[in-house]
Amino acid sequence: MASKQVQTEKPGTQEPVVLIEGARKSFGSVEVLKGVSLAVRPGETVAVIGPSGGGKSTLLRCATMLETLDGGTLAYGDTVVARDEGGRSVYSSKDVQARARQRFGLVFQNYNLFPHYTVMKNITDAPICVQKRPRADVEREARDLIAKMGLAGCEEKVPCQLSGGQQQRVSIARALAMHPDVMYFDEPTSALDPELTAEVLKVIKLLAAEDMTMVIVTHEMGFAREVADRVVFLDGGSVVEEGPAEQVIDHPREERTRAFLRRIAE
């Protein structure tokens, strides 16, 4: 099992921030996840790569509770969202799920910003209205985040006035403002041209340098090699190979990984 391998590689490390074990998910008769395990430790950056339909997005959607697992375990630290009972996932109460939801942030491929809110309100609304944090604190913090994302001066703009790269950075700030333990990125640059991609990748690298815990689904192999501590290659609903970024991307052991990397290099 992949997760065991990880645990034996680095013994004695801290509790994982997110723990997925034996995740199974089918849509109709198609089994999209066939027992995927993933444990992410604090400060770690994991890149998930693999062909379309390999289960990357579904894994992220199950981890973020946008889809429910058929089987397997999902836990954020000591908050157990779903545990496996005889091959079926049993979900915890709504309260527990709501608690777990506060522990991760998700950055969507197509941003999904709220178009009727300004940049400022996009970032501050959930911390104020969901987490009930004081407005002044949240707004001060939001200004810092906006500056950090290179968006100073955009506070009062609405998303449609921004470039795709700027919008994606707002959505990163929106997720960060919730103080998540782990950030998920679902192909964050797929909708962007190379120049805008670079802006967004720069920000993600910055977060990696600050030891933000991250799981990134990406097609940018150069970026994955540079930023990720660990790469997971997902194909056909299973983890085919995983390990340090340089190893999986530069010296893959599995033939399927090699074939995939050759295909996308063309």
């Binding site: 946008l66 939801r101 998700l106 999904n112 178009p115 009727h116 959930a126």
Partner: protein, 221 residues
Amino acid sequence: MMGMLLEGFAVSLQLFALTLVGAIPLGVPVALMRQSTWGFSVGRVRVRPLALIARFYISVMRGTPLMLQMFAIYFAPYYVFGIKLTPESKWQACVVAFIINYAAYFAEIYRSGMQSIPRGQYEAAEVLGYSRAQTFFKIVLPQVVKRILPAMGNEVITLVKDTSLAFSIGVAEMFSTAKALVASQVSMVPFAIAAALYWVFNFVVEIVLGRVEKRLDYYHD
């Protein structure tokens, strides 16, 4: 003559205003019911009682003439419950019929608006921990309002002209008054004035709607 027409016009405006005040909110629960997934399964068939009731309601309201609905609501209390009709009954029946009829149309417009909101908006709200009510009122509804405004404009303008249907049940609104004046004065002028008043009022409605659209024009998606 003008005085009488304006008196009638005041009644038309009252009917117009009461219909909007009643039907705009009433359309919301109807639209939500129409889309509700709550229900149970009978064998392979999924039964959604709330959605079925809403569908039936909308179907009847859109599928039968408003004029007949007014008569039905006017006479039902007498024939079904034996309640004595008063001089006020016509007006009351007329207002109720207009409200429940327009609520059905509004509900379908709301539904089209809600269904046009991308899935990703709901997902973003869910991941951020917004409750269902917060998601609806803060994220979905403001976007729906902007999207449905042109369609609502159509209905509101139709409503201004539909108030003349109250004539058929004997409510003395502007069209009834104009018709009476045409007969007594043997002149078409009252009709022309009534037409002008309808149009002027709708022109004002257009301007107001234009203003609202402009206010919501600060973003697009």
